[in-house]
Structure formats: C-alpha cells, structure tokens
Amino acid sequence: MSAAGASAPVVIAGAAESPQLGKVPGQSAMMLATSSARLALGQTGLSWADVDGLASTLPTAELASYLGIRPGWLDGTVVGGCSYMLHVRHAAAAIRSGAASVVVVAHGESGRSRVGMAPRAADPSSMAGQFELPYGAAATFSRFTLPALAYLHKYGRSADDLAEVPAAQSEWVEGNPRASRNKRLTIQEILDSRIIAWPFRLLECCPLTDGGGALVVMSAERAADCELAYRPVTVLGGGESCEGPGASFLADPTSFAGFREASARAFEESGLRHRDIDHLMIYDAYAHVPLYGLEDLGFVGRGEAIDFIRSGATRPGGSLPMNTNGGGLLYTHTGMYGMFAIQEAVRQLRGDAFAQVAGVRTSFVQGIGGMFGAAGALVLGAG
C-alpha cells in the first residue's frame, strides 16, 4: 500500500443504507451494519479482500470478525451521532498517509427494537448522572431540549415557532416509503401533536428506529480503477470539535461551540465559502438543533434561522435545500443519525435522491454528537 499523498483527492465510492429501515425486529445491530456494508462495497466492484480499514460505532474488532476481515486500520471513535463524519475525516487522512487504502465506515443500530444492543444504562457517577439525570431529565427529549427556550426567548420567538422546522422538512419526504413519517405536515398538525417536553411536541422530536448505513472511502486514483455503480463523491473537507458532557454545560445556551468550530474547519479545509454550498444537511434529533446549526455554521445571522426557514429557503425550490431526506425528525433516527445525513448528501450529489434537487455540486453535512457534546462536519462534492 502506498500513501495517496497529503493533498490527494479522497472519495466516497460506495454508499448504501440497510434494505429495511424503521421497524426491523428481525435484525440485530450487527446485521443492519453488515447488510449496508455489503451493498456499499458491491457498488465499488471491490471484494472484502481489498478492504484494509474499518470504522464504526459498533465494536470494531467484533464487526471485523463478523464481516470476515482483518483490517490493518481500525477507528472506533464513538462521540455520538456525528461519529461517522469523524470516521470519514479520519479515513481520508489515513488514505492520504498510506495507513489504509480502502476503508469501510459502517453503522448499524437497533434503536427501536433493541436487538443485539447493550441495555441502556445511565451512569450515576458521570457528570450528567450527577447533575442532570437526578432531575427527571432521563431521556434525550428532556435533556437535549433544555436550552431551546433560552434561544427562542433571546430572539423574541414563540414556542410554536419550532414547528417551522418539521413543516419545511416534510415537503421533502412526502410519499417516501422509506421514511418513518412521510406525510406533508401543516404547522397546525405539528402543534396539535401531543406535548412531549414543552415546548416540544411529538412531531418536533425524532422517532426511534432501526437501520444501518455504510460508506466505502478510497483515493480518487484507486476509485478510477474500479467499476463503480455510481459516480464518486469527493471529500472536499472536514472538521470536528466538542464542547461538553451535556446541554446544561453549554457556555452559551443559545449557541454550540462544536458547530461553530467544526464547520469553520470544514469550510477552511474545503476552500469553499457559504455561497458555494448547494445543499445542506444539519443533524436534527430535535427541532431546535437546525436553528442553532444554521446560525452557528454562519448560513444566516443570529436569530434569523426561523425566518429563513419560514421564507421557504430550505424547502423544495428554495435557495438552500436543507435536510432533503426529511431529516432525523421525519426520515429515520436510529439513535446515531449522522450516517443517514451523509447518505442523503451522497444521493443528492449522485443525482439519485428521492426528492432530488437539480444540479447539486456541493453539500455541507453537519453532525452533532451526544447532547451538544461533539460535532463533525463534512464538505462533499460531486465527481
């Protein structure tokens, strides 16, 4: 194996989700990851003997054994739902340095059915366990959501404004048979859904699903020698960052340093600017996260995200199509959703999405991990 070189283009040559998505009680997390990885590798024309790198949020040594490979490069980075953005960034660096040549990044999670998953357990001695969980903030919907009202209040917004996020995203997902929630939603329908943790209603919180997804990453030079099923997607840049152990520990409850810093690094690495971005994915476990994201990434000014979404800018026909798979709120959310945000960006760049936007040449994908804990960003390009 030889180093591709410090500035050699690296591509996503294969990308696939598990055939079944949503409620899949007949498959374990490992099976969901494996079925996705086999499909993704199949798109490259390569065999498992060619795979010398593996990254996953599942235990990597076990997954390698499950897949029947003994890779010489492993990345078990687990920083929550944005882990896959970090995996791709790490894989690109490994390929450029010569540490690996063909890397499979795999996600499988039985978030809903809990098949082949460790039992959920909260650590009462962790910082969240000592300072958040004792207050009945045991679930993501009552922890991740905690800063949202401070944001809405700061900019004179009402609790009902959160509904703009799923309403806009529902226009992309209407009729998509793979989506958990595939109906077009009115603001009123969202406001009429039951309260989970006010100001959040059911349709402003992600569903919990089963699913998998995988990517095959290699140098553009290597990909040029493969019989690819789809045109490759280039990794133009990436960034990662982190802030703290939970939403209550944010330095400013209306902004996330992880978003600001990971996105700035990704923009810098790609050499692109905001106006160069055709398509945007911002991880949306809950409706407030894309509002923070749009502002922290610098696509809009402070306090402008709700008006931007309400204007139609992120909907079909808008200037900045966002969360075009419906997002984690509507498409699917296995627990660590980031893989699905990357998959949608790849589909848009391939021209193969359910709600395809015409002429997408660049996509910015922003992930979040934990509850305002970690962040990972990727800038992807067509061809």
Partner: protein, 145 residues
C-alpha cells in the same frame, strides 16, 4: 419534600465530593480558580479556562434565575408528569439543572428570568440541590411543590 427513593440517585466522585458533602449540610458550594477567578462547574481538578490547578471552594449565594426550561409530560421514575426541568443561571455565573419548586408546571406560570433560591431534597442518602421560585407576588402563590 418526602423522600422518593425510586428517583435517580447521583453517585459522587472524588472531584465532586465537596459539592455533595456541603449539600448534605444544606449549603451550596462551588470551586473557584485561584488564578483567573473563574467559577468552575462541573467540579474538576483544574480550571478549564486558564488550566490553573489551584481551586478553592466557596459557599455560593444559592440565588439565581430561570434561564430556560422544559415541562416534561412523560413520566420518569419517581416523577409524576408534568414537571418542570430548568436551567438555573446562578448569581455566580454558572448553570445548574434543577426542578422548579413552588410554581405550577404550566408554560404561563414560569417566566424566564424569574428569581429562584436553592433548597435541598433528601434522596437516597444524598442531599440534592433544588430551586424554588422566590415568591414576590408575581408568581403563583401557594402552588404545590
């Protein structure tokens, strides 16, 4: 407040031992950096701002304001829904998560910026800081905790 052992009980660690020991005495204490005077929360051995490792614990005012909240409508162990979970901005500039005592768990009753004061809930051998809305005539007087 009655003891509700089924509620989640925190387990102190060496870096937080002073916080919980003082709470058991009915006082809220926090660490402050000797070098840059930053109040450090959560407690840890070195200052996250200037990385100085000399920190001194002091008794905090116990006063703050409601900076954000949710009203959880899904029951959690030991909690009867709906109940409020709030982000409390202390006078010392750091934030604590807390339930809100002395105010009805409905959106109109809880105002951002309303003043609160610490008290302690006995739970499973631990005294847990909780914040009660300071009655000033604007709040729901006599509301159940």
């Amino acid at each position: 407040m009655t003891e509700a052992p089924e509620r989640f009980v925190p387990v102190p660690t060496p870096e937080t031992a002073t916080y919980w020991a003082k709470a058991a005495e009915g006082e809220l204490w926090l660490p402050r950096c000797d070098s840059c005077r930053t109040v450090v929360f959560y407690p840890r051995p070195a200052c996250p701002r200037c990385h100085g490792d000399q920190l001194t614990w002091f008794r905090a005012s116990g006063r703050g304001t409601v900076e954000s909240f949710v009203i959880n409508h899904v029951p959690a162990p030991g909690f009867e829904a709906p109940y409020a979970i709030a982000l409390i901005l202390l006078e010392e500039g750091i934030r604590l998560t807390s339930n809100l005592l002395g105010v009805e768990p409905v959106p109109d009753a809880i105002k951002l910026g309303m003043p609160v004061e610490v008290e302690f809930e006995q739970r499973g051998g631990v005294a847990l800081p909780q914040f009660r809305v300071v009655s000033d005539g604007l709040t729901a007087a006599g509301a159940p905790s």
